[in-house]
């Protein structure tokens, strides 16, 4: 009997811990909302799009340039990293000898483990001067796209690799029996069969690219403007928060929390979509 009672207490404690873990997301949401509420009530969401410029000190809150910055950097890096990542995974699965494939996988995992501040630093001291020589000033949309591409490439490569592993071997044998070449097999059989997994990978890398802060903060130049070319500096939503949180007060601070809320909404939405695709794939 004593044993049983101790078990009840133990499970109660575990439940408490689990509840706490589960509540963190709600806590985050609550505090983001609480901090941004004053802004949304007194100034309104529309001012983010209608104000003439981003001058929080003189009460002008146009976030559009930052939204464009985030959008362009993300789109560019996803466009660049997706083919590279998928071809990397194809290389691992169908082209490389086993030993090289294993080594290459390790390398991709290593790439995934490098902290974003190190990518940013490397981009700042190596990539930015190179771009600057090509077309001044250097810190630019292009630099952000390149660095982010390298950063999100492991995400898509590892997810694609896993979904290629899940392609039934009979498909490959069937393709071989038809006398298809390697690439014909990959493009005609493997890629369509792994479509859902690849989609998940693209969504996950997009989420990572939107939420990334340090690397883009360090290489993009952070000028508030809608960029006119690849070589123009931009500022993303995340960089804007990182740059201005240190001295923001009142409505300015609230505006930054609203952009945090927007970011969280975007990323959580993407994760949810990926989860739905994943579930459908399982129950197919």
């Amino acid at each position: 009997m004593f044993q049983w009672r101790s078990e009840v207490v133990f499970v109660g404690v575990l439940r408490g811990l689990a509840l706490l873990s589960g509540l963190i997301v709600l806590l985050i949401l609550f505090f983001l909302l609480q901090e941004s509420l004053s802004f949304l009530q007194t100034i309104g969401f529309l001012r983010f799009f209608k104000d003439p410029a981003w001058h929080p000190v003189s009460r002008e809150y146009n976030l559009l340039p930052m939204l464009w910055g985030s959008l362009l950097v993300t789109a560019g890096s996803v466009l660049l990293a997706t083919p590279l990542g998928i071809l990397s995974a194809v290389f691992c699965q169908y082209y490389a000898p086993a030993a090289i494939a294993q080594g290459y996988r390790r390398l991709i995992e290593l790439l995934a483990g490098i902290p974003s501040v190190v990518y940013g630093f490397w981009g700042l001291v190596v990539l930015v001067p190179l771009i600057g020589r090509l077309h001044p000033p250097g810190p630019s949309l292009l630099a952000g796209i390149l660095i982010l591409s390298i950063m999100i490439l492991p995400t898509i490569a590892l997810v694609a690799d896993a979904s290629f592993t899940a392609v039934p071997p009979e498909y490959l044998r069937g393709a071989a029996a038809l006398g298809l070449g390697r690439w014909a097999t990959v493009s005609g059989v493997v890629l369509p069969a792994a479509k859902a997994g690849l989609m998940t990978g693209v969504i996950l890398e997009t989420g990572r690219a939107i939420g990334e802060t340090m690397a883009v903060l360090m290489v993009c130049g952070n000028v508030v403007q809608v960029p006119e070319s690849l070589f123009a500096p931009v500022r993303t939503l995340t960089a804007n928060i990182a740059l201005e949180m240190a001295y923001a007060v009142g409505n300015h601070r609230a505006a930054l929390f609203v952009s945090g809320l927007v970011l969280m909404g975007l990323v959580v939405g993407l994760v949810a979509i990926a989860e739905v695709i994943h579930q459908e794939q399982i129950y197919d």
Binding site: G22, L87, G113, I114, F121, L263
Partner: protein
């Protein structure tokens, strides 16, 4: 079959051979390019950073805002932040994982909700954790810019990673263990302590190391929670500068800080590599021990 027909139309047989050759070349060059970028990055860090790292660099305080001197206080702050993070996240995470795997039915509402919330938590961008930590720990709880606030913020961040790995470790323990223990009349709590936790140890340690890796790599969540004071911290309520924040500050705000930034970045990468190596070693052990069990 229709796809094959389309393929035949788009690439007639006589082109097929050269297409194969072209794609083989392209795929190998993509692989070489990715390897090349990684080697470029690593060799650049080693080339510029290696000469700077020495015993004095590790054991002296920074001078002239970090341009000269070492990083001793920064290492101490980093260790304290990571320590606070793990000390909070491990009990919370392991407890949650045990409840989800051992003590809650697969489809119970509570379990499903907690799992869902953890999945969302895993997707939250680090800068948002920074905002949250600043609003909750620093402002509402009144911890200010402190090591405690930074460590607690990081704990929220690594929690999903830790829980997922511990869950996998527990799930890998065969159900025969649980049945045998029940047949011997052990209570479920006793089974957990003497049987399941030891058996799930590799998964748990992988989780802790993954969390540790994520914690020391993090920058954006720390700038507004633990701050960037580079003095030696005297208590957990002091502001302390983490190694990653130090790299950021030297690179962006201090002209002439490059050399020390290189050294710090190299040190950060090296410690992450060590952690990675231990993880893959543990993963091997994990696999081997599972084979023995079956």
């Amino acid at each position: 079959m229709t796809k094959l027909a389309v393929l035949n139309k788009v690439f007639p047989m006589r082109w097929r051979g050269s297409m194969e050759t072209f794609m083989t070349l392209l795929i190998w060059s993509v692989a070489c390019f990715v390897v090349g970028v990684l080697l470029w990055l690593l060799s650049d860090l080693i080339w510029h950073g290696m000469g700077q790292i020495s015993w004095t660099f590790l054991t002296t305080a920074p001078q002239k805002a970090g341009r000269a001197g070492g990083i001793a206080p920064i290492l101490v702050s980093t260790a304290l932040i990571v320590g606070v993070c793990l000390a909070t996240a491990i009990p919370l995470g392991v407890g949650t994982a045990i409840l989800l795997v051992e003590f809650s039915p697969q489809h119970s509402l509570f379990g499903r909700l907690v799992r869902l919330s953890l999945e969302v938590l895993a997707g939250v961008p680090s800068i948002v954790f920074g905002l949250f930590g600043n609003a909750f720990f620093s402002k509402t709880l009144g911890l200010g810019f402190s090591i405690l606030a930074g460590g607690l913020t990081l704990a929220c961040m690594v929690l999903p990673i830790l829980i997922r790995a511990t869950q996998e470790g527990l799930r890998a323990v065969p159900n025969d263990y649980r049945r045998s223990a029940a047949a011997l009349g052990l209570s479920r709590t006793a089974t957990l302590w003497v049987l399941l936790l030891p058996a799930a140890m590799p998964g748990l340690s992988v989780g802790i190391l993954l969390g540790l890796g994520r914690a020391i790599a993090e920058t954006a969540a720390l700038i507004f929670t633990s701050g960037s004071v580079d003095r030696m911290p005297e208590s957990l309520l002091d502001s302390g500068r983490a190694l990653s924040v130090h790299i950021f500050d030297l690179a962006m705000n201090i002209s002439g800080g490059e050399a020390n930034a290189y050294a710090s970045a190299l040190l950060l990468i090296l410690s992450l590599m060590v952690i990675n190596a231990i993880i893959s070693g543990l993963a091997h052990w994990f696999r081997d021990s599972r084979i023995q069990v079956i």
